[in-house]
């Protein structure tokens, strides 16, 4: 990120390559459509570029990037709501599932059920359990206290576990 701020195109490319997958996965949780998520990924990188001076080293870069990503997704949702556009809903794209979640059921079932978790909890689960962020980082992205993020993750995980038990799909 520091190299990119200094004007290196190679560093921008490296940043893009590193973040493309996780950001599409995160954007998908908002739009539930891979094509739209890919379009929003471009918008996200345009916004990251416009705002690159607002990243202050040596602060962690991930909360900064994911906060911008989240905002781009929310602005998209707001505008599509205004235009009353409905995107076709797809299954969650293949995601590397964290061991504590994968242990609950097989990967396909977890992917399907994750999509059914309410977005507030799903967002925290994705950021913390799947993208490996600390609760402090999650709080910085969502504008909530780290304790609140922890509570939301706990509740979402509990809901996920209950659904798995109810459907009898535990491994």
């Amino acid at each position: 990120m520091i190299g990119y701020q200094k004007g290196s195109m190679d560093d921008f490319s490296a940043l893009y390559a590193e973040l493309k997958g996780p950001l599409i996965r995160y954007l998908w949780t908002f739009v539930r459509n891979t094509t739209t998520a890919e379009d929003l990924l471009q918008d996200t990188f345009f916004q990251i570029h416009r705002a690159r001076h607002t990243y202050t080293p040596p602060r962690p870069v991930r909360p900064w990037i994911y906060a911008i990503t989240r905002h781009v997704a929310l602005m998209h949702l707001r505008s599509t709501k205004r235009r009353k556009e409905i995107s076709p809903v797809e299954d969650l794209p293949e995601v590397p599932v964290a061991p504590e979640i994968e242990g609950l059921a097989d990967r396909d079932a977890v992917n399907r059920l994750l999509a059914e978790v309410p977005r507030r909890g799903q967002e925290v689960l994705i950021l913390h359990h799947l993208l490996g962020m600390s609760f402090e980082e999650v709080g910085q992205i969502l504008g909530i206290a780290s304790g609140t993020a922890k509570v939301r993750a706990h509740r979402a995980l509990k809901a996920l576990r209950n659904t798995i038990q109810e459907e009898g799909i535990a491994p």
């Binding site: 701020q5 195109m9 990188f45 001076h53 990243y55 962690p60 991930r62 909360p63 900064w64 504008g143």
Partner: protein
């Protein structure tokens, strides 16, 4: 490093505008700028323009006169610091902290007014209460505006993702730094005067900050 993964449109746009940028200074340094401006405004009004301090300064204990003025100034700068933190992506201030900061700021202004009234009745409002009120409000606005302008400039120079919240915090903080000076100058302690004209000005700047944020967001994210 290969650029194969980059979509062509994105690569072209970025390549056209890849000039080096200077990162924003940390929040504490940007808060320091606001602190310097607010202190300069206070010093220039009290010592530069040699405006007369309230007539009953002698009746007020030091902690209530200068003490509370400094307390308001410091609280205002801290709230501006929260606005500057909020203005950077990934630095979102939790909702409860925003509420606490704003309520504390407003409560402090009102509490200082009540305590001052309890110690000294000050100059009676009289028949020309309206003209005096307008005069006080104009002074307040003039004293708050420089700090407010610098705060908003610093907030919108970053990328506030919740711009109205950042504006609201900035407006509250700047208004409080201005009220710190008013507290030393306005000779009237009557609560009706304080609540209508001085607290009213604080609320006005809070609304102005929120509005500035909303307009900025509408323009920026269009």
């Amino acid at each position: 490093m290969s650029t194969d993964q980059l979509p062509e449109a994105l690569r072209e746009t970025i390549a056209k505008d890849i000039e080096p940028v200077r990162p924003l200074h940390p929040v504490w340094q940007r808060s320091l700028v606001v602190a310097v401006v607010a202190t300069l405004v206070m010093a220039s009004i009290l010592f530069g323009f040699k405006m007369q301090l309230r007539g009953d300064m002698g009746q007020l204990p030091m902690w209530l006169s200068w003490g509370c003025a400094i307390l308001e100034l410091v609280a205002g700068i801290l709230i501006v610091g929260l606005a500057l933190r909020e203005s950077v992506p990934g630095g979102a201030v939790p909702g409860r902290t925003v509420q606490t900061a704003i309520l504390t700021g407003v409560a402090l202004q009102i509490l200082v007014g009540i305590m001052t009234w309890a110690h000294s009745a000050g100059v009676p409002m009289g028949a020309d209460w309206f003209a005096k009120g307008i005069g006080c409000m104009s002074h307040d606005i003039a004293m708050i505006l420089p700090t407010f302008a610098v705060t908003m400039w610093l907030v919108f120079r970053a990328l506030p993702l919740r711009a109205p919240v950042a504006g609201l915090l900035g407006g509250t903080g700047a208004a409080l730094t201005g009220d710190a000076i008013t507290h030393l100058l306005c000779p009237m302690s009557d609560l009706r005067h304080v609540l209508v004209w001085h607290t009213g000005t604080v609320f006005g700047f809070m609304a102005l900050g929120w509005l500035a944020g909303a307009l900025w967001a509408r323009h920026h994210w269009r």
